[in-house]
Amino acid sequence: MDEEPEIAKRWEGGYERTWEVLKEDESGSLKATVEDILFQSKRKRVIESHGQVRLGMMRHLFVVVDTSRTMDDHDLKPNRLTSTLKLLEFFVDEYFDQNPISQIGIITTQNKRAQKLTDLSGNPKKHITALKKAVDTTCIGEPSLYNSINLAMQTLKHMPGHTSREILIVLSSLTTCDPANINELVKTLQGLKIRVSVIGLSAEVRVCTVLTRDTGGSYNVILDECHFRELLMLHVKPPPASTSSECSLIRMGFPQHIIATMSEQDAKPSFSMAHLDSTGGPGLGFGGYYCPQCRAKYTELPVECKVCGLTLVSAPHLARSFHHLFPLDAFQESPLEELTGERFCQACQGQLKDQSVFTCPVCRTVFCVECDLFIHDTLHCCPSCIHNQGMS
């Protein structure tokens, strides 16, 4: 497995100027810059809280992965394809973590064609397996923007109007081979309210600028792997819903997890409905989630009931989606010198050593960088505020 392809030898790769990032300070030491780079990379997450706006919480997203010739390039390690797929695995995880009631599908494009890797579904495992398998794809030919968007559009246009329809394209090539005029397609996309975003791996391509501008998506070009990861993470947050999208109430079921064991009298093993059409996994077992409407059994949530079409979620899923609507305000950054009083982080109780500290604007509690990141990325609420609420 560890056998790297011949070409991936370091000395055969491109010529890089890694030292140019480093700068000496007045005393000629590199230490300060290194620390600064580390600090910056920690702080790099972008907080763009959009306040109280409607968000498209139920998302249908197609990720298009370019697997054309250019993906063999070694400017991302070990090559663009492997790096992209690794990051996408991570992305899929994050995506379902943050958007439990949404779905995702993956399309690859090469050799002027587009191919569906996985269909739209809410099951992260399936996608991740597919992505892992795709590492061995040979990268050939040119990608086709038109074909891949068209393929995604065929599925997305049947999705209900209250959900947000999105396409995210990871494009490495600078050229596209299209069977027809892509500008016509952009008009169709506009009509269907499909938002197309592009992450470019090499440079700014005009046609993508037009595509994303006209469909209301975003267009970014990566600088390096870290930046790539950040740009992907920007797409984890649900986008603001367009005002014209329909609103409707959605029926949802909250099935309880019932655990049965062999020892119980009336316990009979049963098949999970989710396994009916997939070959992987035995699917036969005790216990699971039972649809409150039709009693069909599922082993994983969230899922759409195959029998009665009810959306099945668990309460924590909804709660996690909920935080997007009320994001936690960014903490104020201030230098350490200005801090009076105890120099301890209120969360981890560690000593504050970095040059800046972060203060919650509501309860004025002080946190360190790591805890600030943890609170905003994972907890989504200030522990100190919650604590105070409990007190009063």
């Binding site: 491109g14 600078l174 050229t175 500008n183 090499s202 700014e204």
Partner: protein, 769 residues
């Protein structure tokens, strides 16, 4: 916003101003104050035109007696239109700010082809046809004939204009070519003659160089412009070539054959008229005794723009008796023609000066210098007398007559070269007589002498000091302004060697070298893989391009390139090229990507802009030296050395570098634009070449980008393109890049500016030493 430029209130139609625009205006105002000439260089895309216009208009309003007119000369029709649009914005801003309509008249002027509204005439395709047809409808004797015979065709637009158009001046406003046409259609007046008439009282005229520099046209159009005008030559980096071209004559065997036909027609016409209307010829004879004196009277009353073709002393004299009658003149022309034919029959190259030529012609066919000098005037008069309708047919004989006048008038600054065949095809006889002007100052001299302020400006004028020398004038200001950038949006890289360490160069010794060609191919291939959308590549000549592209094709490089991008090639054929350009832009637009292979000094390198995605990179294969074996060039170099003390090498390098700068400058057309500039020749790294690039490009060349290999170039380009693709927001509040009215009035910024402004001045003068 309103600006205070050393006590002059300038209205500027935008909310912010770049520091370099401010400095440019300061420099311009000083030039106007000193009533002298100026040479100013500022990169394109920094708002040069609007700075010029707003300052000069403000100056005109503040000192209406000192500056009466602005004559703005540009190169092409689209450029003229752009200037008029900027002007319109400015005048509207004036109206809005001052609250009253001002009686400002500004108009564009172009050829009949662009202005004609006559349904039949305007549908003709070529400029010459339109001119000829128009002439046949509107010439004074044609109109006189019509009075006796109303059935003859006429141009109703001209008739209408002639009847009433001259009494009422055109209402104030800004007119571009389409506006003039609309106005003409509405009133039923001829827009061309209306425009030509109206430039007399217009405040601003926008037209092409030729109306001032080409003696044949300048005499007709720009004769009566007042001395207190300000003349601006925009995009003037090639002004010396324009001057030279306007004074040079090339005669081929075909010209002579057509000339022979013309003479025959003239002879038969004269014969016919003699039988029917001998009095007319008598009248002409009498006029010729007096005629030229009348012109001299007109010249004295006001200093007209003097015509370099016709020196003053000629006007004092009567037309010499030997060519005064029509038959004698025809005889004279015939002898002259025969002489030229015999000269073209030579089998070896001849180069001689004008006096030598005159001596030879006197010995061989007994033609004196004096009648030759009157040849052009005499022919003109004859054509008028004979009432020839279509002057276009007589272009050959007109050309010959101009040649005769020029060769006998100027003893210095010209050379005659007769080549029996082209250098490329030494077996095919194709004799050409080049009568070549070597001194650019001859054509432009009247302009400098006549107008109180002449501004020469362009994005690429470096090195500044050479222009005053070759144009022979003394500027009061010379300055080069750089571009303040919010981000480094241009990335000049000098590629000196291939990955195999072979030095890249287009110099003569290595130009056939297989390794160099292959490395050039690799460079193009690798660039095509990493640069998005459009790439423009320039070669030094068509021949060189053909060789290289053929070789690339054999090596399979083109095939590989085509996987990344489509390839388009510029050809000498204008129609083909514009077709290629159109398709090129389409390919850039829809994401396929394209490469345009073109030639320095070609149409693409001069007039076409590659904004944004139409040009993300430009590759300059080699240094575009002019073909040095050309005899015309050799003669000119010799002349420059003897007359202006400019060394051959200096001039050649200057000429090559200004064309290189023009080529690479095609990609950056503004501050939001970005592009790579790849100089693929190791000679660019040398200080004498690099130092001749415009300052705004030079500033971006770091020591580390001087002698790169292809690999390194690719890495740097990749990095640059990724950086540039990051979202870019113009920081309007930042005083370093843009100035708002508030920060402009703070003394702090003004101090900063004055320092910045002094710097270019020093560099400008520094180069002079």
């Amino acid at each position: 916003m309103k600006l205070n430029i050393e006590g002059l209130l300038v209205y500027f139609p935008y909310d912010y101003i770049y520091p370099e625009q401010y400095s440019y205006m300061l420099e311009l105002k000083r030039t106007l104050d000193a009533k002298g000439h100026g040479v100013l260089e500022m990169p394109s895309g920094t708002g040069k035109t609007i700075s010029l216009l707003s300052l000069i208009v403000a100056y005109q309003r503040a000192h209406p007696l000192e500056v009466t007119k602005l004559v703005y000369c540009s190169r092409t029709v689209p450029e003229i239109e752009k200037v008029v649009e900027e002007l319109r914005k400015l005048i509207e801003f004036y109206a809005k700010e001052t609250g009253k309509t001002n009686n400002f008249l500004a108009l564009a002027l172009s050829s009949r082809k662009n202005l004609c509204v006559h349904p039949e005439v305007s549908s003709l395709r070529f400029g010459k046809e339109v001119d000829g047809k128009c002439h046949s409808l509107t010439a004074s004797y044609m109109r006189a004939q019509r009075q006796s015979d109303p059935s003859l065709p006429s141009c109703c637009f001209y008739e209408e204009f002639d009847a009433v158009g001259r009494q009422v001046p055109v209402s104030a406003g800004v007119y571009n070519l389409d506006d003039l046409k609309d106005y003409g259609r509405r009133k039923g007046w001829c827009p061309y003659y209306l425009a030509r008439y109206s430039i007399l009282h217009a405040n601003i005229i926008v037209y092409s160089y030729h109306y001032l520099l080409d003696p044949k046209i300048a005499d007709l159009v720009s004769k009566e412009l007042s001395k207190k005008s300000v003349v601006v030559f925009d995009e003037a980096h090639n002004i010396d070539s324009v001057c030279i071209d306007s004074m040079s004559v090339n005669i081929t065997r075909r010209t002579l054959d057509r000339c022979q036909l013309n003479v025959d027609t003239l002879q038969s016409t004269i014969q016919r008229i003699k039988e029917t209307d001998a009095a007319k010829l008598k009248e002409e004879y009498r006029q010729l005794l007096e005629g030229l004196k009348e012109a001299s009277v007109a010249r004295e009353t006001d200093v007209f723009l003097s015509n370099p073709v016709l020196p003053d002393e000629i006007l004092q004299e009567a037309v010499p008796g030997s060519i005064r009658t029509a038959e004698h003149f025809i005889g004279f022309l015939k002898r002259f023609l025969e002489y030229l034919k015999s000269r073209l029959r030579t089998h070896h190259v001849v180069q001689e000066s004008a006096p030598q030529f005159l001596k030879d012609i006197f010995e061989k066919v007994c033609i004196d210098r004096k009648p030759m000098r009157f040849c052009a005037e005499r022919l003109h008069s004859l054509l008028r007398t004979l009432e020839i309708a279509d002057v276009a047919d007589f272009s050959a004989i007109t050309l010959i007559s101009h040649f005769a006048t020029l060769v006998s008038t100027y003893s210095k600054g010209f050379t005659i070269i007769i080549e029996p065949f082209e250098d490329k095809t030494p077996t095919i006889a194709n004799p050409v007589l080049h009568f070549s002007c070597m001194d650019a100052s001859i054509a432009i001299k009247p302009v400098f002498e006549r107008f109180q302020t002449v501004i020469i400006t362009s994005g690429t004028l470096s090195p500044l000091d050479i222009y005053p020398r070759i144009l022979d004038f003394r500027p009061v200001t010379m300055a080069s302004f750089t571009m303040t950038l919010a981000r480094t949006c241009l990335c000049p890289l000098i590629v000196g060697r291939g990955n195999d360490q072979v030095a890249l160069s287009s110099k003569f010794e290595t130009r056939e070298d297989f390794a160099v060609i292959r490395n050039y191919g690799n460079l193009l291939l690798e660039m095509s893989a990493i640069v998005p959308d459009g790439i423009v590549a320039f070669f030094t000549s068509y021949v060189y391009m053909e060789n290289i592209v053929a070789s690339w094709y054999e090596q399979g490089i083109l095939e590989n390139v085509q996987r990344n991008k489509l390839i388009f090639i510029e050809t000498p054929d204008a129609a083909e090229t514009s077709m290629a350009l159109e398709k090129y832009q389409e390919a850039c637009e829809n994401g396929r990507g394209a490469i345009l292979l073109s030639v320095a000094r070609g149409k693409v390198s001069e007039g076409i802009d590659f904004v944004h995605h139409y040009g993300r990179a430009v590759i300059m294969f080699g240094v575009p030296y002019v073909y040095t074996q050309s005899r015309i060039l050799k003669a000119r170099l010799e002349y420059l050395r003897d007359q202006f003390q400019i060394r051959e090498n200096d001039f050649l390098t200057f000429d090559a570098m200004r064309h290189a700068a023009q080529c690479v400058g095609r990609v950056i057309r503004g501050k939001t634009d970005y592009g790579l500039m790849i100089f693929a020749d190791k000679r660019y790294a040398r200080a004498d070449k690099r130092g001749k690039l415009p300052r705004w490009i030079q500033e971006q060349i770091t020591d580390s980008s001087l002698n790169l290999s292809i690999d390194e170039t690719i890495q740097l380009s990749k990095h640059f393109l990724r950086q540039m693709a990051q979202p870019f927001k113009r920081v309007r509040t930042c005083p370093q890049h843009t100035l708002s009215p508030t920060c402009l009035h703070s003394t702090n910024t003004l101090n900063m500016l004055s320092v910045e402004e002094m710097m270019p001045k020093y560099t400008g003068c520094g180069g002079k030493k």
